[in-house]
């Protein structure tokens, strides 16, 4: 899977803290992700083409979101001859650590057209607040 990283240079250190990904996972088994955040939640989007819902595990433990699963290979007759093989990913794993506390019992996940969207609501004390000055 080709991964284009467009994170600005200033984010590098932040990214290294945010993503617990080791080198041996890189390239084949690491789906491309996008992490966005507003004052209520963090949203993690991952590209998982060909992955079925039942073959995907989304977990949250010790403040780390883990996406893992397998991609089933298409069944081919014995006589089939491979002409081109670029879609190498068979299994994958990716971990993301949100920078805030998460209301873990309200995490939701949806898989549509090969794209997984995980919504991690911020814990009450992690939400941005405006303090009234008296």
């Amino acid at each position: 899977m080709v991964v284009h990283v467009e994170a600005p240079r200033a984010f590098r250190h932040l990214v290294n803290e945010l993503l617990e990904t080791s080198v041996h996972q890189a390239y084949h088994g690491m789906p491309a992700i996008e992490v966005t955040e507003d004052d209520q939640q963090t949203q993690v989007v991952a590209e998982l083409p060909g992955v079925k819902k039942e073959d995907l595990k989304v977990g949250f433990e010790d403040g780390v979101l883990t996406l893992r699963g397998i991609r089933q290979q298409q069944e081919l007759p014995d006589s089939a001859r491979v002409i081109l093989n670029e879609r190498h990913v068979r299994d994958f794993k990716r971990r993301v650590r949100p920078a805030h506390e998460v209301e873990s019992q309200h995490i939701s996940a949806q898989l549509t057209d090969g794209v997984l969207t995980v919504t991690l609501p911020k814990a009450e004390k992690a939400k941005a607040r405006t303090i009234t000055v008296r």
Binding site: I33, A80, V82, G114
Partner: protein, 133 residues
């Protein structure tokens, strides 16, 4: 040997185009594909995550099969981007078809972000087993 009957044209993906709010130019990306030949068809499988089925345009003509699809942007509205590997893009890829493909009976299916195109062989290309009397 029929090694050239399904020659492949690699569509050069555009150089990575920097995206900013004022510039709606979306780079073209070549989706990853597998091609397999069976006794009576070529099967092309392509990763197109995040595409609505209705936005896929599959065209056959001029001896080429072309696939175009635009990707919906899944980001939260008014949210700050913390980390981004998934950039706005559109998928584009072309394959040259040999004479051995039956252009009239190409079939395509899209499921779970994967497009599968079945290109039946013409009778002339199918391997025939000759029975020895």
């Amino acid at each position: 040997m029929n090694e050239r009957k399904f020659a492949l044209v690699r569509f050069t993906p555009a150089a990575i185009v920097k995206h900013d709010a004022n510039d709606e130019q979306v780079p073209e990306v070549m989706p990853l594909a597998d091609i397999v030949e069976t006794t009576d068809a070529f099967i092309v499988t392509m990763d197109l995550p995040g595409v609505a089925k209705e936005s896929i345009r599959l065209n056959v003509g001029g001896g080429e099969l072309s696939v175009n699809a635009s990707v919906r942007r899944p980001s939260l509205k008014n949210a700050a981007v913390v980390y981004r590997e998934i950039t706005p893009k559109q998928y584009r890829r072309q394959f040259r078809l040999g004479n051995g493909v039956d252009h009239e009976h190409i079939d395509a299916q899209y499921a779970d972000g994967v497009l599968t195109i079945a290109l039946p062989k013409t009778d002339a290309l199918k391997l025939r087993e000759i029975i020895i009397h």
